[in-house]
């Protein structure tokens, strides 16, 4: 883990530097009258300071106390996480085009079929029921306006 802490602390430092630079261009104002960039600038400095502290802490961490785990990515299905993220991205992008009901039905099928085995009839029924039920709950009862898309009755 310590190696990752050091990598992360470099990312935090970069973020802090970026924040400070951006705040500087927004205008810091003065201590008597702090401007738009004042507090972000201070927080940027705090980020940098904490990141340096984390870097040093992980560098000097007592060695040999706990054997470093090889990687937090071994033994996990991280590809499945990426796959599911992509499905949801697709949902967000296609929602205006496909409309709520069709898009939701499809995303449910894809999500259910993403890992553990699940029978087709179950997936189809759960997908359809969820799409309709959530439409009634949010679209009709709670008045959220969803895009109708290609299933629009009004053409």
């Amino acid at each position: 883990m310590q190696r990752y802490d050091r990598i992360f602390s470099l990312i935090w430092i970069a973020l802090g530097v970026f924040q400070c630079a951006e705040s500087f261009s927004l205008g810091l104002g003065s201590v008597m009258e702090p401007g738009t960039g004042f507090m972000p600038f201070v927080m940027g400095l705090v980020l940098i300071a904490l990141a340096i502290a984390l870097f040093l802490e992980s560098h000097f961490a007592t060695r040999g106390t706990s054997p470093t785990k090889s990687s937090p990515w071994s033994d996990v299905h991280w590809k499945r996480v990426v796959y599911i993220t992509l499905i949801m991205l697709g949902y967000a992008v296609l929602l205006p085009k496909l409309g709520y009901l069709l898009d939701t039905f499809l995303v449910m099928i894809f999500l259910m079929k993403s890992g553990e085995p699940i029978k087709w009839p179950t997936a189809l029924v759960v997908g359809a029921v969820t799409a309709v039920f959530s439409y009634v709950l949010f679209g009709i009862w709670l008045n959220v306006s969803f895009p109708e898309g290609i299933l629009s009755f009004r053409g």
Binding site: M39, Y91, T104, T130
Partner: protein
Amino acid sequence: MELLANLYQGFQICFSPINLLYCFVGVLLGTLIGVLPGIGPGAAIALLLPTTFRVSPVSAIIMLAGIYYGAMYGGSTTSILVNIPGEAASVVTCIDGYQMARQGRAGPALGISAFGSFIAGTLSVVGLMVLAVPLSNVALQFGFPEYFAIMCLGLSIVSYLGRGSIFKSLLMAALGVSLSFVGMDVVVGKPRFDFGLLVLGDGVGLIPLLMGLFGIAEVFSNIEEKIQAREIFQTKIKGLLPTVRDWKDSWAAITRGALLGFFLGILPGGGAVVSSFVSYAVEKKVSKHPEKFGTGAIEGVAGPESANNAATGGAFIPLFVLGIPSNVAMALLLGALMIHGLQPGPLLLQQHPEIFWGTVASMYIGNVMLLVLNLPLIGLWVKLLKVPYKILFPMILLFCLIGAYSENNNPADMLVMLFFGALGYLLRKYGYDLAPLVLAFVLGRQMEQAFRQSLILSDGSFWVFFSRPISAVAMGLAIFLLVSALIPAFKRKREKIEVDEI
């Protein structure tokens, strides 16, 4: 007398059919969420926040509060029957509760936890009711420096209690504050850090952020591991009513749990989880037969379960008195109030007493509903545990997607949520605690305003935070905590009490 008049007004609000319905839906959903492992009360409130956009603020708060204390009730059921805590505050209940179930005493274990929760929950509402108004009168005298110092102290405590390295927790707090800067500058109305993106023009949305960090990231952490079928302890649950002997053994534990929970609940970061652990430790210490703990001692169930419910009442105090949430669930309630255009704090109690008193009254009623719901319906909750996760998780994700979309009917908010989902997943993987991030994000803008106004007041002198008594004490405590986290002896202590409250 004024107290009773206010309470009467609260009950009048609460007894309107619509509010009773929202209270019922809240505690029902809360219990459901408490029963289902893998989704905590924070995530549940985030998921259901969008369903309250179009109802009156008092109904919204009644329902969301119901989810919160309902989850504390429900969490114990799975701890006792399956040895899987439904949420973090029920972890200790597993120790003796599951042992009781194995000895065929699942009924009394469930019964005493429901009764204990009811008694302690009700006592803590009394505490909330009695303390909130006098405290808010004190808080009305606070100026910007006091507020800034108290928020710093709150964030320090939450970071101190966070998982892993103190620097990581503090980094999360700093990141949270920084994220709150995105969008319009509150004081002069100048855009900043929006990278020219329209969706960030009004700042990072609270709902997409929360749903991403808690809803999506939580599902990701669950699905990356192979989903295992849960084994449910196969036994007939009979005799839910505890015997006279059981009551004798546990009444003191319930009382102590209620007091501990209430006062620990007021402190930031602690709340339900810490108080349940502390209560267990206390019960073991004062017991005449500590060796029985771990083998099915009923006090080991009664104490912690009472404490975690009492903590929910205590947790409302900083929210209503100062407008400062003490944990993630309270941060969400704060968000809900703000979405309805209300700013929690001492003024809220004066300008909108109906919100506070309606909520207080609903908590009395909600506690009764929970007692009625939990005892006869336990069989149903057990059945629910059998819903496979492969069907559950797509629904949770869909709820998150709709929730993010529905606040502004904007698909781009779903992308913001996915970004925070991925970020939260990564941060958790590398040992970062997300609670400080969320609290800091919610408080960020208030902090900035208090900071800037304090400096303007003091002509640019930072001494203003240390020269006024209340802010000096708060700042002193914050610095003490952070420094003590670095001293090796304290560091080991801190590692013992660190918790992961979601």
